[in-house]
């Protein structure tokens, strides 16, 4: 029995996607990993869901084409109004810019900032 039923991974880099998917499954973090290649796709996907269908955990990359992590978060601020229950969002990035950490704190939905690479330990700490 996995910790969470579902995880949404918003990430454009195929290797990261592969690694994350494998890691999540190996550690039984979640039963299912849904992947969106950029923020736009993720928003569009989430918009189709009902509250109870929302994945409890979202791993979000920052640097993506079309709509990056921040764009996603801004869009989600609008989108979240229609949901009664909201997912926890974990920013997943290799950024070293302190501005990014500050910016992340502005968003209520962002639970934490995870530095790449995603490790088993990190996944274990998320309860």
């Amino acid at each position: 029995m996995a910790k969470f039923s579902e995880v949404l991974l918003v990430e454009d880099d195929p290797i990261t996607i592969l690694v994350c998917d494998r890691m999540i499954k190996m550690t039984s973090f979640a039963d299912k990993v849904i992947t969106c290649e950029n923020g736009k796709i993720a928003i569009d996907f989430l918009a189709t869901l009902e509250s109870e269908q929302l994945p409890p955990i979202i791993f979000l990359d920052i640097n993506m084409p079309v709509m990056n992590g921040w764009d996603f978060l801004n869009e989600f601020e609008i989108l979240k109004l229609k949901f009664t229950q909201l997912p926890r969002i974990y920013l997943l990035s290799s950024t070293v810019d302190p501005e990014d950490y500050k910016k992340a704190k502005k968003f209520e939905q962002v639970a934490d900032f995870i530095s790449k690479p995603l490790s088993k330990d990190t996944l274990n700490e998320i309860v």
Partner: protein
């Protein structure tokens, strides 16, 4: 009538001397009378002259002669004098030569004198020039020479024989009486004498004959050739006994003029008595018992001193004096009877209450030489004079005090007497000691004047002498105690009736302190003025209500006005009253007593505004009138520099942010593949290398490594661009570049079926770096093709043109376009990608922009999603 001049007789001690002296003094005889102790009893000037020919020491009555006094005289003098005193000789004649026999020869006679009554015993030395002897000298040339002298003399010389008949008469007779000597000789001495004088002359002649060797003088009238009687003075000397002469020698001179004067004196004496009774002065004569003998009319009329009763001859003067004063008067009269002359002032109040002051002189009246037989009282009313004197004294005291208070010195110089008068204050100002006798030379003062002012002072005084106006001079003066003072001298030169400068009067004032103060103020003013005129800062002085009073050259230049234009304005004319700056200023001034320090904009004459820094302070002038002093500094340059600095620091900040961003992004982009590699490694199944998933991991591992390599290469490229400071420039043709680039992308273009329209007709040449330009063109064109719309075939328009200082190359496409509102800020960012379906790495535009900026240019973009994008590259010429 032997003498008319008896008053000149010395001392009445020995009455017998009176006559002797008189007689001798009337002749040309020098005499010296000594007593047995060789004390000089009498001496006249002629003897003194004789004495001083031989002796330097002068003679005077009372001196005791010593042998020393006779040293220069021939020994025979003292020798014979001793003989006379010893009784060996009664009288002796000596001849004394001076220089030579011909020029000066004296006859000295020493005679024994005694007066038993007065117990006197002594000797008389008489001395006479031997003129007669010369006449009779045996040398014929000398005789004629002396004859000439005698003839041209105003004195007539005559010889008479024992019968007093003239035997010789000098030629001078013709000048004086008109007769020739011949006419005169043979006449008796009594002939031609005025009948009234004949008795006197006869007595005189008898006396002459009776007393040989004695010179006897008589004044009488004698008839001249024209029949008029004229007065002569005749000196005669009986020398009949002299074997060389054997004659009576007479010499006479005309004394007509003197006689006329004598007559005038007599007349004036008569007038005097007339005056006595007409004068304001009172005369009263008392006898020895203080009874009034006589008085004049003035005394009778006003009885000035003896006010108790009217005057009356025979009454005692004491009856006229109030009782309490009598004893004092008796004491005084005692002094008068002892020969003293006494002055006394009295005061009395008349019936009308007027005060009268009289000055009385009490003189003893002598009967003969010693006996006092009465008192002569003269009285004058001196009320007015007294008043004047008192006033004068008071005035002079006042003047003195005034001088002292005003520190005003007074100096007067009399050109005739050459005497200076200096007031006390004058001496104090110049530091002259009180005994200023040594300063009574005008030149002493001249030397005190500062040498540089000397000429101007002299000129000032000379001008005053010429035009008669007062002078007012300022000059420096070295006072006697070494201090340099500045003196103000005001004065004038008074002239007498004949227009000759008589008196020089000047007041002196020490104005050193005030002058120094004025100088200090002037210095201060001139300093302020030069500060005002030469200050780089503008200065405006304005009244409280804003009228500009004065403006310095600096502010005029700053605002483009002339000084007069500016003074015609109000301060608010220079301000844009409605701006917040000005409103703020008024607010601050109100709160801070009119003081304001801050920045403002002032209106230039040409209408634009000049940024200035203003320090405005409310002040009060010497008369307590408020005014506003405003110092204005042009800060145009400062503002310019400030804005330049601001731009520079903004640019620096931006560059810095850029660099920071670059470092963040590069580290991110390096970390990402590394992170991937690490993750892949961690998933690798070491226990079972044959695991299928391991194969996938190895594939991915290869990919990630390639990715890392590519990223590193990209970054190296970027760094090369960023760090290239000295980029080589060359002449480049856009057309050439375009052709080269087009070759590279021809395949891509054909795949997309695209078309490019290039037009470099306006500008084709540019000084630039070839590699950069190629890279820019490649990036721009490939982007345009890459992000072309799937709905239409790509069309790219490229053109070049000039605008201002830029050469602009425009790349216009009809591609996907983008929402600049959304992505604008990231468009040129490193690793920013906007289109999900393409292989872009987010490096191209970042590279292009970096290249453009590195060459001093810029890049602009216009875009619309779904329509297309236009990039404008600005190259700096």
């Amino acid at each position: 009538m032997i003498s008319s001049n008896i008053d000149s007789i010395d001392s009445g001690k020995f009455p017998f001397l009176v006559l002797t002296e008189k007689i001798l003094s009337e002749t040309k005889t020098g005499y010296l009378i000594v007593d047995k102790n060789y004390e000089i009893i009498a001496v006249n000037n002629l003897y003194k002259l004789f004495h001083n020919l031989y002796n330097e020491k002068s003679l005077q009555v009372g001196k005791i002669l010593t042998d020393q006094d006779f040293l220069c005289l021939p020994e025979s003098v003292l020798h014979n004098l001793k003989k006379v005193f010893a009784g060996h000789l009664e009288s002796v004649n000596l001849q004394i030569e001076h220089l030579s026999r011909e020029t000066l020869s004296y006859k000295l006679t020493i005679s024994y004198l005694s007066d038993i009554e007065n117990n006197f015993e002594g000797a008389c030395l008489t001395v006479q020039k031997r003129e007669i002897a010369i006449v009779q000298g045996d040398n014929s040339t000398q005789t004629s020479y002396h004859k000439l002298l005698i003839d041209s003399s105003s004195t007539v010389y005559q010889f008479a024989d024992a019968a007093l008949v003239y035997t010789y008469t000098s030629n001078a007779i013709s000048n004086i009486l008109g007769y020739t000597p011949k006419e005169m000789n043979g006449k008796n001495a009594i002939e031609l004498v005025h009948p009234d004088d004949k008795d006197n002359v006869r007595d005189w002649l008898i006396e002459i004959r009776r007393r040989p060797e004695i010179v006897l003088t008589l004044e009488y009238r004698i008839k001249n050739k024209s029949g008029d009687f004229i007065w002569i003075e005749n000196n005669a000397r009986n020398m009949l006994a002299d074997p060389n002469i054997k004659a009576v020698i007479m010499n006479f001179r005309n004394i007509q003029a003197k006689k006329v004067a004598d007559n005038a004196l007599i007349q004036s004496e008569q007038r005097l008595s007339l005056l006595l009774n007409n004068t304001e002065e009172s005369f009263i004569i008392l006898n020895s018992r203080l009874r009034i003998l006589t008085y004049n009319k003035a005394a009778q009329d006003r009885s000035p001193f003896f006010y108790n009763a009217p005057l009356q001859s025979g009454m005692s003067v004491l009856d006229l004096i109030s009782r309490n004063e009598i004893s004092a008067y008796i004491e005084m009269f005692e002094l008068v009877f002892n020969g003293e002359e006494i002055e006394k002032e009295t005061k009395f109040i008349d019936s009308e209450g007027m005060i009268h002051v009289y000055s009385h002189t009490f003189r003893p009246l002598f009967d003969g030489q010693t006996d006092i037989f009465g008192v002569f009282i003269t009285s004058t009313e001196i009320t007015e004079r007294k008043k004047l004197t008192e006033e004068l004294a008071l005035n002079s005291e006042r003047l003195k005090a005034a001088q002292k208070i005003a520190r005003l010195g007074y100096f007067e110089y009399d050109f005739n007497t050459k005497i200076c008068y200096c007031s006390e204050q004058f001496c104090e100002i110049l530091g002259i000691p009180d005994d200023y006798y040594s300063w009574q030379q005008l030149s002493s003062f001249q030397s005190m004047i500062h040498s540089e002012d000397h000429d101007s002072v002299l000129q000032g005084i000379q001008k005053s002498v010429v035009d008669g106006k007062d002078f007012s001079l300022e000059f420096r003066c070295h006072t006697n105690n070494g201090i340099e003072k500045i003196i103000l001298a005001i004065g004038s030169v008074e002239k007498n009736d004949t227009d000759v400068s008589a008196k020089f009067k000047v007041t002196l004032q020490d104005i050193t302190d005030s002058k120094m103060a004025i100088l200090a103020i002037q210095t201060l003013e001139s300093k302020f003025k030069s500060l005002f005129d030469n200050s780089i800062d503008g200065v405006i002085l304005s009244s409280e209500n804003g009228d500009i009073i004065s403006a310095n050259p600096s502010v005029c230049q700053m605002l483009g006005y002339s000084q007069s234009e500016l003074v015609a304005l109000k301060s608010c004319d220079l301000l844009d009253v409605n701006t917040t700056l000005v409103k703020k200023m008024f607010q601050i001034r109100k709160e801070d007593n009119g003081a304001f320090i801050g920045e403002l904009l002032l209106k230039h004459r040409l209408g634009h505004f000049v940024p200035v820094e203003v320090t405005s302070i409310s002040m009060k002038d010497g008369n307590d009138n408020p005014y506003v002093s405003t110092i204005i500094r042009d800060i145009t340059e400062k503002k310019k520099i400030e804005s330049e600095q601001k731009a520079l620091s903004e640019e620096l900040l931006k560059n810095n942010q850029d660099l920071q961003q670059f470092s963040f992004i590069t580290s991110h982009n390096l970390r990402a593949p590394v992170a991937n590699l690490l993750s892949l490694l961690s998933l690798y199944n070491n226990e079972n290398p044959a695991d299928d998933f391991n194969q996938i991991l190895v594939e991915k591992f290869k990919e990630a490594t390639m990715q890392l390599n590519a990223t590193l290469n990209d970054l190296v490229n970027v760094l090369v661009i960023k760090s290239s400071n000295n980029i080589e420039r060359e002449n480049i043709s856009f057309t050439d570049i375009y052709l080269v680039v087009k070759k590279n992308i021809d395949n891509l273009l054909k795949q997309q079926n695209g078309e490019i329209f290039a037009n470099f007709s306006e500008v084709d040449e540019i000084q630039y770096n070839r590699i950069h330009i190629e890279s820019i063109f490649l990036n721009m064109i490939s982007n345009a093709i890459r992000y072309s719309s799937p709905d239409r075939k790509p069309e790219i328009k490229i053109r070049s043109y000039k605008q201002n200082n830029w050469v602009i190359v425009e790349f216009e496409d009809n591609g996907l376009g983008m929402d600049l509102k959304r992505y604008g800020d990231r468009l040129f960012g490193l690793y920013q990608r906007f289109h999900g379906h393409k292989e872009g790495k987010g490096l191209g535009l970042y590279m292009t922009r970096s290249q453009v900026i590195a060459m001093g240019g810029k890049i602009e973009v216009e875009s619309e999603a779904g329509v297309g994008t236009t990039f404008k590259i600005f190259f700096k010429i």
